[in-house]
Symmetry: C2
Subunit: 222 residues, 2 copies
């Protein structure tokens, strides 16, 4: 297995994270790098969705991935099998990434000619929502087994996401999950959110998601 | 539907949480109250497991429940249907509870003759693991759809739990979840952890769990 680089990121020294996030977005714009911040609960399917996304887009876009985790490098090793550039970020126990930590990650990744950089954030619906990473767009994955009521319980996460992927729709028959009600709850929190039901395992719905992503990347790089 | 009391808990003023947690445990011991801290990812099945646990034990033990959530009171309303004492704690955006916040919750619950108090912590595998709530025992629920690799990624949570309930075992055939491997990973983090596979929806395995709980409560109250 390919050796994955591990970067231990340091805690930020900046008090004003929003300012740092804006500065990072400006730098990304200048360098033509689109940064996607991907968030979810533990086990919602971030890595599997990423694998499928990379397979679909790696001939179209130059992709780089940052895998943030408290510990372990299992996800980065999985992603490295796709052949794209990947780096493992260890947060040293921190439950989220802020803009300065994301900047350290991007420097470690050495974006160079990368067009689409993806940050797989720590699996957590609370803290990552509170810190602007400097990403151009925020995406989150809600998986069917978690239940359709999650937008009621984790309001901030749903309100800051540009796109919500509803994953594991293949197991819908085995869970009490009402897709229409879930969409309604999401739009209560965020009327502008794009909602795309997918199954990363079977590939269902992935075209709608990658189309959305490709369009956002080209708009940003225009 | 019964009106549920909502308590807005304030941020703690104490720097030394471990000390506060020890003091709380001493008070609980003196008053014969067993406090269980129940943690998990969002959507792993804390509330459903609690419902089943209460149904099984409410004629044996006097139970009180604290439902911690960032927002919303859906869980507390659900629990209130069982007829046990319940209070909703709003953390005001906080991603975890510490000992002082838990003490506020217990005072709000008015433990009085309660023998078993249960804190349903915020759905999060990271931050709640870092703060001793003062509970007598820590329990966590890992659900099958989340994957068997979670002990690798959230080491602290698994290392501090006395008991791990592996929930939603009814859907095991639809997920790539290896129970033996999962147990091995949990014991890597915590050799002493009791592991109980359950399905809160169908009731499978619930007897083993409530037996464990009843024994712990009587030991504590001896």
């Amino acid at each position: 297995m390919k050796q994955v680089r591990i970067l231990e990121i340091k805690q930020s020294v900046f008090a004003d994270n929003d300012r740092q996030a804006e500065l990072l977005r400006q730098d990304l714009k200048e360098n033509g790098v689109f940064l996607l911040n991907l968030m979810s609960s533990p086990g919602a399917g971030k890595t599997t969705t990423l694998m499928r996304t990379i397979e679909a887009l790696k001939d179209t876009l130059k992709i780089g991935v940052m895998e943030a985790d408290i510990d372990s490098d299992v996800d980065a090793e999985t992603i490295s099998q796709t052949g794209v550039k990947v780096i493992q970020l260890h947060t040293g126990g921190m439950c989220h990434l802020d803009a300065e930590m994301t900047r350290q990650g991007l420097e470690g990744l050495e974006t160079g000619d990368i067009e689409l950089a993806i940050l797989e954030n720590v699996g957590n619906l609370v803290c990552p929502a509170e810190f602007d990473t400097g990403a151009v767009k925020n995406a989150m994955i809600l998986s069917v087994p978690e239940g359709d009521d999650k937008p009621l319980k984790y309001p901030l996460m749903f309100s800051i996401c540009d796109v919500v992927l509803i994953n594991k729709i293949d197991v819908m028959p085995y869970f009490d999950f009402d897709l229409a009600r879930c969409k309604e709850y999401i739009h209560m929190r965020n009327p502008d959110a794009t909602i795309i039901p997918i199954c990363a395992k079977t590939g269902e719905g992935m075209k709608a998601w990658t189309d959305w992503l490709v369009q956002e990347v080209s708009q940003w790089r225009m």
